[in-house]
Amino acid sequence: MSSDKKKMSRGDLGLQIIIFSLGFFYAIVYYVAVPGVVDLQAVSDQLLAYITAVLTAAFAIGVINLTRVHWINIKRKRATWRYSIILLLSLYGMLVFSVIASPFALDPNATVIPASVIQFSTPIWDFLYYKVLVNINSSIFSLLAFFIASAAYRAFKARSVESTILLVAGLLVILGQAPIADLIWPGLSMIRDWIMAFPNAAGQRGILIGAALGIIVFSVRRLIRYDW
């Protein structure tokens, strides 16, 4: 915090002016229109397109970092160096096949890349993407069910008044959500709906209002670099 009070250099000041002008412009565009003179929304969209282009170029940073970290792993034969070989092969292998044969291929009409290479690469890319990547992604996602079970086991221990309330509310919502809820007791789904719509929604909205105000103050502080 104290660093904010230091005198700004010319470069910092210039950067701050750019940051403030762009931030202020975006805030103004949201509230104000200048019909017949300039389409502020179009200008804002165009600026966003430039930002997207700059941000996309920054993806190279990620690739460079991955390569650097795992190359050092392999060179120094660290404990996990074999995994690093697999990672680098997967990274660059997928990159090559994606450039040649994915829906975003650089030369889909075979102007430069020979058609035979594209024909050879297409089933490989399809296999790697749809049969490997998509399935691994789904598998990792599905692990969540087991993590939820272990976390719920820990959370649903009646150690204090608060955790007992959590346990009872959690059990009622789980039972109410079960397909046989109405067969057990028709009131279960009503209780579930009440818990979700009132105590749960109220708590969540309280956090959201606080977070929204936090974001406003944080953003304005950053924008004007004023420490309050």
Partner: protein
């Protein structure tokens, strides 16, 4: 020439009122040196990092899967700055995992800066700040792998998290001594509350920097956002009472 966009006028007016109230209350709080309640977890960060250094185990930090424009990600950078400074001070090894290349660049600058400021730039290595993957579950798998292999003693999961939050926090719990979570995503907060020793809930993420500062002025400035909250509560109460009695003036005004 200028035209206010219908439907957003009341938002703009409300924003100005809230900002003015926050500014004014902050000034009063600073003048009167008001004290705020502390966040227990934040006070223990130093102890945890010291313990990690003593055990010669790493400290792990991830800002989650948010992009550089996410307020949660940006707010988490303040905490990363603090954690990296303390890691340099106590000699604990820091590992940072990112899912966004731009965030990777920012975190690398912060960590490198902490080492440079302490005159220990030679101790900084590129594998301290790692880019994992932009894909959510590839990132989760990568972080789970780091947590299993490197066995950090303290884990910080602070920033913008989605469904991967529980996977990484639950994996971290198996090995770590302490875990610190923080996000404004209400769907993920319950997971952090279950798996972490301390959790920054909602706006606490944005005020953490103030709490970490020893400057009494900075602590007083945290009172400001409460003015906004008080206004919001008053508006909610007024709206509820007015609508109950069949008056929808506030609904109309806020819809302008």
């Amino acid at each position: 020439m200028f035209e206010l966009i219908p439907g957003r006028i009341s938002q703009g007016v409300l924003l100005i009122i809230v900002l003015a109230a926050i500014y004014e209350l902050t000034r009063i709080a600073v003048r009167k040196k008001l004290k705020t309640r502390g966040i227990p977890g934040l006070e223990r960060i130093d102890e945890w990092i010291k313990e990690a250094a003593k055990l010669e185990r790493a400290v792990f930090f991830t800002p989650g899967t948010g992009v550089i424009t996410s307020p949660d990600t940006l707010a988490s950078m303040a905490l990363l700055g603090y954690v990296s400074k303390r890691c340099v001070e106590y000699g604990a090894r820091l590992i940072v995992a990112n899912s966004d290349p731009q965030v990777q660049q920012l975190t690398e600058d912060i960590v490198k800066g902490a080492y440079t400021k302490a005159g220990k730039e030679k101790e900084f290595t590129p594998d301290m700040v790692r880019y994992v993957s932009t894909r959510q579950f590839a990132f989760a798998a990568g972080v789970m792998g780091i947590l299993r292999r490197e066995r950090p003693a303290v884990n910080f999961f602070v920033g913008d998290f989605q469904a991967e939050s529980l996977q990484v926090a639950e994996t971290g719990r198996a090995e770590a001594i302490y875990q610190f979570g923080g996000t404004t995503n209400t769907d993920q907060l319950c997971f952090f509350a279950t798996t972490c020793d301390q959790t920054l809930i909602g706006e606490e993420l944005y005020t953490a920097q103030g709490y970490l500062s020893s400057d009494p002025d900075a602590i007083s400035k945290l009172v400001g956002p409460d003015a906004g909250k008080t206004l919001a509560i008053l508006l909610i109460l007024a709206g509820a009472v007015l609508v109950t009695f069949g008056n929808s003036i506030l609904v109309y005004l806020l819809g302008l």
